[in-house]
């Protein structure tokens, strides 16, 4: 019970931002939440947000883990996804006839490529102790050229029925496929976190690598592992993005998405300096960014000003999220709460403070 309250306060920032955006949108039109059926699929603002944010959500999850363990960010995720998807496209187009099997095998190859790219960054960071941003700068700089070469210096077209279904909707299924894939991915991670000690290990390494080592955790392995996971995330995100687009544009595919992914991690209440993390927060952060982009469009801000407005909004957000303001807010909350505790105590309910616990023990 108390845990859930704690977690909620952790998510207070992203949820309140989300709520604010919803209010703005509701003012613009009461039908904001309305969902209709179009050609057998759900259509509306909400499905659009889930559809649009698919890649960002997936990459934010990986970015959260990398940030937590390595205390830095991978800035090459867009480029990695471009390379993995180039490999996917290369395989599928070479296969001649496109079947579900070739798509799956192509995806498998792109995953292997993603893991290899993750391993490349991971080795630089964990073994050679290169700062994550510097390490990933290599792929960030050269990644698109590599993808361009894989593409055979063209933008190959992926116009086939199965890709189209993956990028849009499968007849008979009312939800767009990228949304389903995102949900599957989130479920996969939920299971991963539930069935392994990934969270405990990553947090421990991120907070105190020395202590982690003395308690039997190998920080190098854990940091490497987070980059591998990041590589897998880029493969999945690249897969979704290229199927959505129906062709492989090595120049623009998921360009600069690491900015939004890092921002999602920050909005999610995670420290960019590593340590404790909340993947739920990052996911909400990613959807918040998607919603923010759409809200700015909905407000019909002129194109030249749209970046300015986004920047202003993010500055406000970051100030609210800053430790200084948070501390102030906590002080206020604590004051209110301590007043309440005093009342509770007189009623004889569970006290919170150390002093009270000590007193209880004495009794």
């Amino acid at each position: 019970m108390r845990t859930s309250i704690k977690n909620f306060s952790y998510l207070f920032l992203p949820l309140s931002v989300l709520a604010l955006l919803i209010i703005i949108n509701l003012i613009k039109g009461a039908d904001y939440f309305s969902i209709t059926m179009v050609n057998g699929a759900l259509y509306g603002n909400i499905p659009n947000i889930f559809f649009g944010a698919a890649e960002l959500v997936i990459l934010s999850i990986g970015m959260t883990l990398v940030t937590a363990a390595s205390r830095g960010q991978d800035i090459s995720i867009g480029e990695s996804a471009t390379i993995t998807s180039a490999i996917f496209v290369l395989f599928v187009l070479q296969a001649g006839e496109v079947t579900l099997f070739t798509i799956l095998v192509g995806f498998l190859f792109s995953c292997i490529a993603g893991l290899a790219l993750g391993a490349f960054n991971g080795v630089l960071v964990s073994v050679f102790k290169v700062q994550p941003m510097v390490a990933s700068l290599i792929l960030f700089t050269g990644g698109r050229s590599i993808a361009f070469m894989i593409d055979g210096k063209l933008s190959p077209i992926l116009a086939n029925d199965i890709s189209n279904k993956i990028g849009t909707v499968i007849p008979g299924v009312p939800i767009q496929t990228p949304i389903i894939l995102t949900v599957l991915f989130i479920v996969f991670f939920a299971v991963l976190l539930k069935t392994t000690n990934l969270k405990l290990y990553v947090e421990t390494v991120g907070i105190n690598p020395n202590a982690a080592r003395l308690n039997g955790i190998n920080p190098k392995k854990i940091i490497f592992l987070t980059f591998l996971i990041m590589g897998f995330c880029t493969a999945v995100a690249g897969f979704i993005a290229v199927n959505k687009a129906g062709r492989h544009d090595s120049v623009n595919l998921l360009k600069l998405i690491m900015m939004d992914a890092i921002l999602a991690v920050a909005i999610g209440g995670n420290s960019l300096g590593g340590g404790k993390f909340s993947i739920t927060g990052s996911i909400i952060g990613a959807y918040t960014i998607e919603m923010l982009n759409r809200t700015l469009l909905r407000l019909e801000i002129e194109p030249a000003m749209i970046k300015v407005f986004k920047a202003i909004f993010i500055i406000i957000l970051m100030v609210i999220a800053s430790p200084v303001v948070r501390l102030k807010i906590r002080k206020v909350v604590d004051k209110v709460r301590s007043g309440k505790t005093a009342v509770n105590q007189s009623k004889g309910s569970t006290p919170l403070s150390t002093a009270n616990i000590a007193r209880k023990k004495e009794e």
């Binding site: 933008s155 849009t168 959505k244 090595s250 623009n252 982009n293 909905r298 194109p303």
Partner: protein, 328 residues
């Protein structure tokens, strides 16, 4: 230490360049230095660089060297290197329109003819021989002319701009804004695909317009990728488009996938932005008859009615999905 290494590296590169140049001196080929942006910049540039490579080849009688970089100062350094090498012609597509005056003058002093392609430079016309450019305002005007000729009344148009402030965006948007000012059409939504001319952003612009209940019948997207994103939004919302549809769609750039979409009636039109200046420039050089000043390329607008396989093959850029294949 790093600085010294850097200097050494530069010296080695310069040295090898000089050696290379010296070795080629007596081959009788026309020496051309090409300063361009890298193919990673855009699909347009991919085709452009590829075209430069094929036309200015040894087989065609050229000894050409290329430097492709986004960095203006690197471009200038490369141009100066070519001037030192004593090329006959210097072809430049500048990353930045300013900062070139000295370089261009020293080329002129060395008797090297400078031909700008694709991108203009802010300098006196006397500083270069010729510039072969795409006229973005012309492209915009031609596209808007097509929109106005559709016979729609009223014309409710969604404008999806490219990177704000880029030459292409200014030219292509200008025509639409002028027409709107003149009362010839209504802009019901005005958005941008951002710095990467993003498909996803374009899709969001149209989705926002649909969510706001806007009634529209034309989508004017300033490149093919954004047109694709816009049509994805229409498809998802169940709004018809293309030849027999409600919303008329026009894109820019002549990507072959876009032309196939037009051919199939999935879109309605595409406006060319020709990256193949090389053949024209080569013709000038070979004939020895080089015009002076700015020359605009002739560019096409193709619609479902005028498009043919031959045109797609000749003028399209990038991969061809094949006849009848729609890239959704």
């Amino acid at each position: 230490m790093k600085k010294i290494l850097g200097i050494l590296l530069v010296l080695v590169i310069l040295g090898s360049g000089v050696l290379f140049a010296a070795g080629q001196q007596e081959s009788g080929l026309i020496k051309v230095g090409i300063v361009n942006l890298p193919p990673e910049e855009s699909g347009y540039r991919q085709a452009n660089v590829e075209d430069m490579n094929t036309v200015f080849s040894t087989a065609n009688g050229y000894d050409a060297k290329q430097t492709n970089t986004m960095d203006n100062s690197e471009q200038i350094a490369a141009a100066k290197g070519y001037i030192r090498d004593g090329v006959d012609y210097l072809l430049i597509s500048a990353a930045n329109a300013s900062g070139w005056d000295d370089t261009l003058k020293s080329a002129k002093d060395a008797g090297i003819k400078v031909i700008l392609f694709d991108r203009a430079i802010d300098t006196a016309e006397s500083n270069y021989q010729a510039a072969l450019l795409s006229d973005m305002a012309y492209e915009g005007a031609k596209a808007v002319e097509w929109v106005l000729g559709l016979g729609l009344d009223p014309i409710n148009l969604i404008l999806i701009r490219g990177q704000m402030g880029s030459a292409a965006e200014i030219g292509r948007s200008g025509a639409v804004l002028d027409a709107a000012k003149a009362g010839k059409l209504n802009i019901v939504a005005d958005g941008t695909g951002g710095d990467s001319w993003s498909l996803e952003e374009a899709r969001k612009v149209v989705e926002a317009a649909i969510a706001a209940g806007k009634d529209f019948n034309v989508i004017y997207a300033e490149n093919d990728g954004m047109a694709q994103g816009a049509v994805q939004a229409l498809e998802a919302a169940g709004i018809t488009h293309g030849k027999d549809g409600k919303v008329k769609v026009i894109g820019f750039d002549f990507n072959r996938f876009a032309l196939r979409n037009v051919q199939s009636g999935y879109w309605d039109a595409d406006m060319q932005c020709n990256p193949r200046q090389a053949a024209e420039i080569s013709k000038w050089i070979k004939s020895g008859n080089i015009p002076s000043g700015i020359i605009y390329q002739e560019e096409l607008l193709l619609t479902t009615d005028t498009i043919t396989d031959a045109l797609i093959d000749q003028w399209g850029i990038n991969a061809d999905p094949g006849k009848g294949v729609i890239t959704r």
